[in-house]
C-alpha cells in the first residue's frame, strides 16, 4: 500500500471514507453556521452539501459511489420519521385548545403549498419528473423524500427543494408576518412550521418559544397530511 493511488482506489470504494466525509462536512458546516449567528442563509445542511459536492468534484467521484457510504446516515431518516410521533404526542394538550383554527389552517396551508408550487412551475413550463418532485417540498425531508419516490419524482431533487423551501420560509416569515401585524404567536409558528418544516421551526424557536412549539406541531401535522394530499393531487391533476 505504498502507492498512494492504490491506497486511494481502495479507500474510495469503501463505505468508511464517504461516511466519514459526510459527518466531518456536517460538523464543519454546523460550526460555520454557529459562527455566522445561525443566519437562515447559513444553513448547515446547505453548507455541508456544498462541501461534499466540492470534494466529489475534485476527487472525480460519482454520486453512486458516495452514496454507498452515506447510505448509513440516509437510512436513519426512516426511524427519525417514526420518532416524530413522540413530540407530536407530547404537544397534544396544546393542540386541543386550538383544534379548529389548526385544522382549517392545516388543510388550507397544505393544499396551498402543493398546488401553488405545481401551478407556478407548470405555468413557467416545467414538466415531468422535476415538476412532480416539487409537490411534497413543504413537508419535512424524510417524509418528502418518501412521497417523492412514491409518486414518481426524483428524491435527490426533492431533498434540495425541501432545503431551499425551509431556508426561504426562515428568511421571509418574520418580515412578512410583522408587515401584516400578525401578533398571535401560535398562528405565526404554526404557519411557518407547516410551510417550512424543520428549518422554519428552528427559526421560530429563536424568535419566540410559543411560536417554536406550534411550528413543530405544524411541521408534524403537515408531514402527515402531505403524505396523503401530494399523491392525491399528482394523480388527479398530472
Amino acid at each position: 500500500m505504498n502507492d498512494p493511488f492504490r491506497l486511494w482506489s481502495y479507500l474510495a470504494q469503501e463505505p468508511l471514507l464517504w461516511l466519514t466525509v459526510t459527518l466531518a462536512a456536517y460538523v464543519i458546516a454546523d460550526w460555520t453556521s454557529d459562527r455566522l449567528g445561525r443566519h437562515p442563509v447559513a444553513n448547515p445542511v446547505l453548507i455541508a452539501i456544498l462541501i461534499i459536492a466540492a470534494v466529489l468534484g475534485v476527487s472525480d467521484t460519482r454520486f453512486e459511489t458516495y452514496f454507498e457510504g452515506a447510505q448509513f446516515v440516509h437510512f436513519m431518516l426512516g426511524p427519525a420519521t417514526v420518532a416524530m410521533a413522540v413530540p407530536l404526542h407530547a404537544n397534544l394538550g396544546r393542540v386541543k385548545r386550538v383544534l379548529a383554527p389548526m385544522a382549517v389552517a392545516l388543510v388550507a396551508g397544505s393544499l396551498t403549498a402543493i398546488l401553488s408550487a405545481l401551478g407556478i412551475a407548470y405555468a413557467l413550463g416545467l414538466r415531468g419528473e422535476a415538476l412532480v418532485s416539487l409537490a411534497p417540498k413543504s413537508a419535512t425531508a424524510p417524509v418528502a423524500l418518501g412521497v417523492s419516490e412514491a409518486i414518481g419524482g426524483e428524491p435527490t431533487l426533492t431533498a434540495v427543494l425541501v432545503i431551499l423551501t425551509g431556508i426561504t420560509g426562515a428568511i421571509v416569515a418574520t418580515p412578512l408576518l410583522n408587515a401584516l401585524r400578525i401578533k398571535d404567536w401560535r398562528a405565526r409558528g404554526f404557519a411557518v412550521g407547516l410551510a417550512a418544516h424543520g428549518i422554519g421551526t428552528a427559526h421560530a424557536f429563536r424568535v419566540n418559544s410559543t411560536a417554536g412549539a406550534f411550528s413543530g406541531i405544524g411541521m408534524g401535522l403537515n408531514a402527515l397530511l402531505t403524505a396523503f394530499l401530494a399523491p392525491l393531487v399528482v394523480t388527479l391533476l398530472l
Binding site: H74, H89, L106, T168, A187, A195, L224
Partner: protein, 118 residues
Amino acid sequence: MIRNIAILLAFQLLGETLARGAGLSVPGPVIGLGALFLTLLAVPGLAARMRDTADGLLAHLSLLFVPAGVGVTAHLALFAESGLVLAAAVIGSTVLAILVAVGAFVLTARLTGAQGDE
C-alpha cells in the same frame, strides 16, 4: 435506548409492510409514525420512556438529509436549465402557504373564540 430503537424500527417495518403490501403511495415510515402515535395514546407511559431517544434522533435531523441533498450534483444540468423556474415555484409557494395558513388560523380563532395567547 436499544429497546427504543428496536421499537422505532419495528413500527417502520410495520409501516413499510403495510405500504408495500397494500400498494399505498404514503411512505412506510409515515404509516409507522401514525401507528406509533396511536400506540402512545393507548400506552401513555411509553411516551416518557421514548422521549430521550426520539429527541436525540430528531436533534440531528438535518444531518440525515445531507446524503440525499448531495444528490443535487447529479442534477446540475436541470438546475442550469430550470433553476429560475424551480426558485420561483419554491419562493412563491412558500410565501403563499405561510399567508394562507396564518390567515386561516387567525380567522378561525376569531370565529370560534379561541383568541388570546397562553
